[in-house]
């Protein structure tokens, strides 16, 4: 039975259903409601865990890491400045190859200060070696959080579940919360093989000479590539239980014979899908659900037959251009007849992404063939002359 729930509240339920023994977090908008809801579940005795209310995100990630090493399932969540403060620990967690799940309630990174949504924060740590999954809506955020534990524990890799701040975290929707039996059936109790244990002492996190470092990185890279199959398997297995499926690595919709595609990640997809139907546009919409591992093969298949592909993303590399845009361009350049790639940043720092975006983008690529990159929705009249 669907219940009307705020995204953050639903995520708190999803986390509790996964039975982590240690949760540690530090408040930051728009992640705050998630940890507040978890705290309440703990206070009401509905969720048994050690909730460690730390003094910083740096410690939030560190506490979760220590907990996993001592043999517990753990959880943390953050956003924006918090993700950047955690960055050093995030690399360390992934490099140590430990299973952990965190939510990133995507938010812009300061300066200028903004509490609103874009995806610059998770993009800033894309090379940390975590699996990154981006959710289109709150039902997917709930289901992906549960799937993430299974993926993480099967791969011995941490998973960051990216959920657009406010757009999803603060939105009330009718949602299905799975039952404890369903989740227990899907996610078995887990024992981490490299748990610290006085009966069988190991040393972890040691200094590695140049003789071994490349090999460690190779193994880590391979583990991420292999994780693609686990992401698909977890989505399929969850679909068998719940009836909900998210396409594994990516999702696409629209006519088979479309020659123009629009690719994005996260909640923009819903807006584009609605705009496509309303405007009856003959475009293929592609949504990457997995950004790490980057689904090259699936993307090449999804882009087959396209002459033009527009990449819309909520982040950029200033002085470079689109981040997702560049990766898509590189992956598709291997095709015999690669589509022309148009890379645009949109919806930065909470800028509204209206239904009219799709039509506007399709017009723009007609007007400016070959445009490599731009921030799409800049209102030039607000800028001083020299910056226009």
């Amino acid at each position: 039975m669907p219940q009307a729930l705020e995204g953050s509240q639903a995520l708190a339920y999803a986390v509790a259903l996964c039975r982590p023994q240690v949760v540690s977090a530090y408040p930051i908008t728009p992640q705050t409601h998630i940890v507040e809801n978890i705290s309440k579940l703990v206070a009401d005795g509905k969720f048994q865990c050690e909730f460690v209310s730390v003094e910083s995100e740096f410690s939030a990630a560190s506490v979760a890491f220590g907990a996993v090493m001592a043999g517990s399932r753990a959880y943390t969540a953050s956003a924006s400045q918090g993700i950047l403060l955690m960055a050093e620990v995030l690399y360390n967690i992934a490099g140590t190859r430990v299973p952990l799940v965190m939510t990133c309630a995507n938010r812009a990174v300061s300066a200028p200060l903004s509490i609103w949504n874009d995806q610059q924060d998770s993009m800033a740590v894309r090379d940390a070696g975590w699996i990154q999954l981006y959710c289109a809506d709150n039902q997917e955020a709930v289901d992906t959080t549960i799937q993430a534990y299974l993926i993480s524990e099967r791969c011995e890799l941490p998973v960051m579940v990216c959920v657009d701040g406010f757009t999803l975290t603060h939105t009330l929707e009718p949602l299905e919360i799975p039952s404890q039996e369903q989740v227990d059936g899907f996610l078995p109790p887990y024992h981490f093989a490299r748990t610290l244990d006085p009966a069988r002492p190991i040393s972890s996190g040691t200094l590695v000479s140049p003789d071994h470092f490349s090999e460690a990185r190779h193994s880590h890279h391979q583990a991420l590539l292999k994780a693609a199959a686990e992401i698909i398997a977890a989505d399929d297995a969850w679909a068998a239980l719940s009836g909900r499926h998210y396409g594994g690595l990516l999702q696409q919709e629209g006519p088979e014979d479309a020659t123009i595609g629009v690719l994005t990640m996260g909640s923009i997809f819903g807006t584009l899908a609605e705009a496509r139907e309303e405007g009856n546009h003959a475009v293929r919409l592609i949504r990457l659900r997995a950004f790490r591992p980057f689904p090259v093969d699936a993307l090449q298949a999804a882009a087959a037959g396209l002459k033009k592909l527009v990449v819309l993303e909520r982040a950029l590399s200033p002085g470079g251009g689109g981040i997702l845009g560049s990766e898509v361009r590189a992956a598709l350049s291997e095709l015999e007849q690669p589509p022309a790639i148009y890379s645009y940043a949109v919806g930065l720092g909470g800028r509204d992404v209206p239904l009219s975006l799709l039509g506007a983008v399709l017009e723009r690529i007609e007007e400016r063939p070959g445009e490599r990159f731009a921030i799409f929705d800049v209102e030039v009249e607000k800028l001083p002359h020299e910056d226009r």
Partner: protein, 335 residues
């Protein structure tokens, strides 16, 4: 073993000593520390007293580096290193997990003075404030040794490091050594204490004490570093003793923020004896008024410590700075 009350001494048969079980060796030999490294010896002593049912979160620093060159490790207990500034938080996470699992293994956190006084201070403070059952051990060698002897907020006033070099305008470090144990004690944790690797009996006793306490405990161990202090490897213990006997490094215990114990100094030595033994204070012995001023300043700091903590001994005491090292296991050989 026989005790003679009249002479206050104990006769020990060597054969009997040999039959006793060895102390637990949690840190094995064969690691890569410099000759005479105080930190290495201190860690060995901590492990002897802490025993095998522990789990260690070690910050980046010399101890971490010299004990674990992949694929080797000198640790015989579960041990992990994550980063420089999160040993307190990693330990907190371990403790939370063990608590959730109903396990009683004690969590220890190991860090140098840089990882404790400076960059790791926040995570240490958070861990203590939340009351985690963790023994945090700071191996205080008074500088960032692992990166090649740079100043930390533990470096003593006037000491030379590569980032506090003496020169025409400077007499070494300009600032005072941070009083970390008082700051830690201000968290009102059950037990915070200082000790020195030059006083192994005191060190082991304090580790055992802390191990028995449920809650956050803190031990600051003065650990001479021959490389960083400009001494010979075989002088570490002698130099460590002088730091205590001059009053520059007070050995104290604080419970819930209150001073509850000190190691009395039998005969306070002049700080010059300590300073002249080390290369890092060499510039203080040049013929210059600023050097003389700094020597006076350091003596005043030592006198201040002796007065503030009541370190002056009251005659011969087998538990004072001269007596305590003669205490052997549970008996007194001679006072």
């Amino acid at each position: 073993m026989k005790r003679d009350e009249a002479s206050n001494s104990i006769a020990i048969k060597v054969a009997e000593l040999r039959r006793r079980p060895h102390r637990f060796q949690g840190l094995a030999s064969g690691h890569r520390a410099c000759l005479g490294c105080g930190e290495a010896l201190a860690a060995r002593l901590v492990m002897e007293a802490a025993g095998p049912d522990v789990m260690i979160a070690n910050a980046t620093g010399c101890l971490e580096i010299f004990t674990t060159p992949w694929p080797e490790s000198a640790w015989r207990v579960p041990w992990m290193h994550s980063l420089f500034e999160n040993a307190g938080a990693i330990a907190a996470g371990m403790e939370a997990a063990l608590k959730a699992q109903g396990k009683t293994t004690k969590v220890l956190s190991f860090a140098g003075d840089g990882g404790t006084f400076d960059i790791g201070f926040q995570s240490l403070s958070g861990m203590m404030e939340r009351g985690h059952n963790v023994l945090y051990v700071c191996y205080d060698n008074e500088a960032y040794m692992n990166t090649g002897i740079q100043r930390s907020s533990s470096t003593p006033h006037a000491a030379m490091t590569t980032t506090s070099p003496p020169g025409a305008e400077r007499m070494g470090k300009r600032h005072l050594k941070k009083d970390i144990v008082s700051i830690v004690a201000a968290h009102h944790i059950p037990y915070a204490a200082t000790t020195s690797v030059a006083f192994p009996t005191d060190l082991r006793k304090k580790v055992r004490r802390a191990m028995e306490i449920e809650g956050p405990t803190f031990l600051q161990i003065h650990s001479p570093c021959p490389l960083g202090w400009g001494t010979e490897g075989e002088e570490s213990i002698a130099v460590g003793r002088l730091a205590v006997e001059t009053g520059l490094f007070p050995i104290i215990e604080l419970e819930r923020g209150q001073l509850t114990g000190v190691l009395p100094i039998r005969e306070p030595k002049p700080v010059i004896d300590y300073l002249k033994a080390q290369g890092r204070f060499r510039h203080l012995f040049q013929d210059h008024y600023k050097a003389r001023e700094e020597l006076e300043h350091l003596q005043a700091l030592a006198d201040h410590n002796i007065a503030t903590f009541g370190l002056a001994g009251q005659g011969v005491d087998r538990h004072d700075s001269s007596g305590i090292n003669r205490v052997q296991r549970e008996g007194v050989r001679s006072a």
